[in-house]
């Protein structure tokens, strides 16, 4: 049969971010997929190396709007790992609350978008309506809807006002019945079953081979979660379960996300109720030379940051590895063989986030890599100068 190439993107209603999927199709069946990114690359690592350790947190927060807590969490842990220090107990709890609140809103967001991709706009609207309630809770606790700006190396930037806690708890309790209703509506919908079950199979072996992370791996029966494996924050101080399913398909990923929301609600509630007193910040004055790593289980999987300090007030090297970077290659295993309609929902099922993932590599036409890191930096500086000269900017 004749092969043709269908491009999804770079501007496509499927996802908010620009990215390009080239699907090679035979009729309706996808035989190959190629992902082309770079439409979102902003050079965050380089920018972070321009800023001092404290300012960096704000830049890191803007890696991704949905994971605006996960990246600072991993980054601050990396910086604390250099010294090394342990943050105060209260700060641990506050960090956990914010991180879990973000997980709830991120999963709700995914649900809404997945519904939208399936043409089920009612689910989209209902889920996002619920998400607004969570954002309200976050606004009560942190003062912000999306970019919470709560994190700083050594603790948290702002305290949670104890007067706000009852209101936040009340709001969270009010969410649960609606969530229950939606859970029932989703789990019992026969057409959803028909659409999601048995497609996009990622076997356990493949999940291990591709180093899949987060819900993508947990839906394939790989019980991997940084929060359990190497507890940090307040995750070892509260009682919660890791959700693992064995079904390996898109449906499994959906179920994992749905049940994880309940766990997150549980964590947030326990943390709010048992919030210990004390300091919230260590007031770190200087960072000694050294290296540190930090990891956090973001809604999409483990986010990993590496920071090297040379004793000045800026990171000498900052490296970010977001979860989508590891999950994206699994599409090679899941998408080929499915139809175009399934491909779109399989693509969406890993909850891809390109803002986090963007890399850049310069290649020659034949596909060989030409430049190393040092040359790239030199080249980019020259180019920026040239462009600025052309535009007449000093």
């Amino acid at each position: 049969m004749q092969k043709s190439v269908i491009s999804i993107g770079p501007y496509h209603p499927l996802q908010e971010e620009p990215e390009l999927f080239m699907l090679t199709v035979e009729g309706e069946t996808v035989v190959d997929i190629e992902v082309s990114i770079g439409y979102n690359h902003r050079g965050i690592e380089k920018l972070s190396e321009r800023c001092n350790f404290d300012q960096s947190t704000f830049v890191i927060e803007r890696i991704c709007g949905i994971c605006s807590t996960s990246h600072p969490f991993a980054y601050t842990r990396a910086v604390e790992d250099i010294i090394p220090v342990e943050v105060p107990e209260r700060a641990r709890y506050i960090r956990t609350i914010i991180a879990e609140g973000e997980r709830i809103h991120s999963h709700l967001l995914w649900y809404g978008l997945a519904g939208h991709f399936l043409g089920y706009n009612t689910v989209y609207m209902w889920m996002w309506k619920l998400r607004e309630e969570i954002l309200d809770v976050m606004e009560i606790l942190s003062g912000n809807r999306n970019n919470y700006a709560m994190f700083k190396p050594g603790g948290v930037r702002r305290d949670i006002n104890s007067d706000d806690i009852p209101l936040a708890l009340k709001k969270i309790d009010a969410i649960i019945p609606t969530l229950d209703r939606l859970k029932k509506a989703i789990l019992d919908d026969p057409v959803l079953h028909a659409r999601l079950k048995g497609i996009g199979i990622l076997t356990k072996e493949e999940a291990v081979d591709y180093c899949a992370l987060g819900p993508t791996s947990r839906a394939s029966g790989v019980a991997r979660d940084v929060r359990k494996d190497a507890p940090y924050g307040a995750y070892d101080r509260v009682d919660w379960d890791m959700i693992v399913t064995e079904s390996c398909d898109v449906w499994g990923k959906a179920v994992v996300r749905l049940l994880e929301m309940y766990e997150s609600i549980k964590i947030v509630k326990t943390c709010l109720q048992n919030l210990p007193g004390g300091e919230i910040d260590l007031n770190i004055k200087s960072i000694p030379p050294g290296e540190g790593i930090g990891a956090h289980e973001a809604p999409r999987g483990e986010t990993f940051h590496y920071v090297r300090s040379d004793g000045t007030n800026r990171p000498a090297r900052h490296k970010v590895r977001a979860s989508t970077f590891m999950n994206l290659p699994t599409l090679k295993a899941t998408v080929p063989g499915s139809s175009i309609s399934d491909a779109t929902i399989i693509l969406a099922a890993i909850d891809p986030c390109y803002c986090c993932t963007e890399r850049m590599a310069v290649r020659s036409r034949e596909g060989k890599k030409l430049y190393g890191g040092q040359e790239l930096i030199r080249l980019s500086q020259e180019k920026t100068k040239k462009i600025k000269r052309e535009m007449g900017i000093k």
């Binding site: 991709f117 399936l118 043409g119 089920y120 706009n121 209902w126 057409v191 659409r195 139809s339 309609s341």
Partner: protein
């Protein structure tokens, strides 16, 4: 004088103008009900009209690789077909003006809008539009089979009549087979309208509105108008064929309007409580589930006719 009457019928009432106005109103009902189901407020009453006028004023871009004449004429063909259907239906219902076999003509004409979408999509030369067009074709093949069986049942039950006037007089729905075929026809109409769960051809998040992807300005406006008029005409067709037609004497008006709104709302609610199915699932659904059920209903109807059992 005959001729002016027909022209009037086609252009003003119950043809173009009337159909368009009620069609736009139906679109508003659709959007409003959708919004209410989704806990939203929804657009104002005049919104479909604004959309239409706005599209008329926009630039019309013609894809470089496409065939210009076909690309531009496809929407008009679709619209004219729907208007014709509407005119025939209303004339039959209002004044009993009908010709033998108008049911068959209507059934044929109802395929044309889908064909127009397909042709327009193919003419635009966009790969996504081509995918959409091929899906539309598969969908037509899928739903036409049960739809035709339903029509056959209708003809049988109304005493082998293929005149809409006579069919409209028999409320087919008053029997088991009648209920079955009415429900199946409703689902077929869902597919004809291109509504979820059968909006595979224009799946926005998969193939970016499919055949419509390259359309802008006036041709897009005409397509939107076609959709709007379909939303009006198809429920009327359902009422004529299954629910005992339209009645305009005394309380009958209210009853007719209620019937129409009920069907419209039912269609919209189905649209909003289902995700989109895959094209292969759609084909399977129509051929392996609906077609046998329709055939069974047909057999029931045959027995009913032979043994004169009216509830079969």
């Amino acid at each position: 004088m005959e001729i002016t009457r027909y022209i009037f019928a086609f252009l003003i009432f119950p043809g173009f103008l009337f159909t368009v106005i009620v069609g736009l109103f139906s679109t508003w009902v659709d959007r409003k009900v959708t919004a209410r189901v989704q806990w939203r407020v929804g657009p104002p009453l005049m919104q479909p009209l604004y959309d239409f006028v706005k599209l008329l004023g926009k630039e019309t871009l013609i894809p470089a690789g496409g065939s210009r004449a076909v690309f531009l004429s496809a929407p008009i063909v679709g619209l004219v077909a729907v208007i014709l259907v509407s005119t025939i239906l209303w004339l039959a219902n209002l004044w009993g003006t009908a010709f033998v076999g108008d049911l068959i003509v209507v059934v044929y004409l109802l395929v044309i809008p889908s064909l127009a979408i397909m042709i327009g999509g193919l003419a635009s030369g966009n790969p996504l539009a081509t995918t959409g067009a091929s899906r539309e074709m598969k969908l037509i093949l899928a739903y036409e089979l049960p739809f035709l069986i339903c029509m056959a049942t209708v003809i049988l039950k109304s005493g082998m009549s293929i005149k809409l006037v006579e069919i409209a007089k028999t409320p087919i729905i008053g029997s088991i087979s009648g209920v079955l075929v009415a429900l199946i026809a409703l689902l077929c109409i869902q597919a004809k309208l291109g509504f979820v769960p059968f909006d595979v051809a224009e799946a926005e998040t998969e193939i970016m509105s499919g055949p419509y992807i390259e359309y802008s300005g006036v041709p897009l406006a005409v397509f939107k108008l076609t959709q709007a008029t379909m939303l009006f005409t198809l429920p009327i067709f359902l009422i004529t064929a299954f629910l005992g037609g339209l009645n305009f004497s005394g309380w009958g008006i209210l009853w007719t309007v209620l019937k129409y709104l009920a069907i419209l709302v039912l269609i919209v609610v189905i649209k909003n409580t289902n995700p989109r199915v895959r094209i292969d699932q759609a084909v399977k659904f129509f051929w392996y589930y609906l077609a046998p059920v329709a055939a069974a209903a047909f057999v029931l109807a045959v027995f009913g006719q032979i043994y004169a059992i009216s509830w079969l």
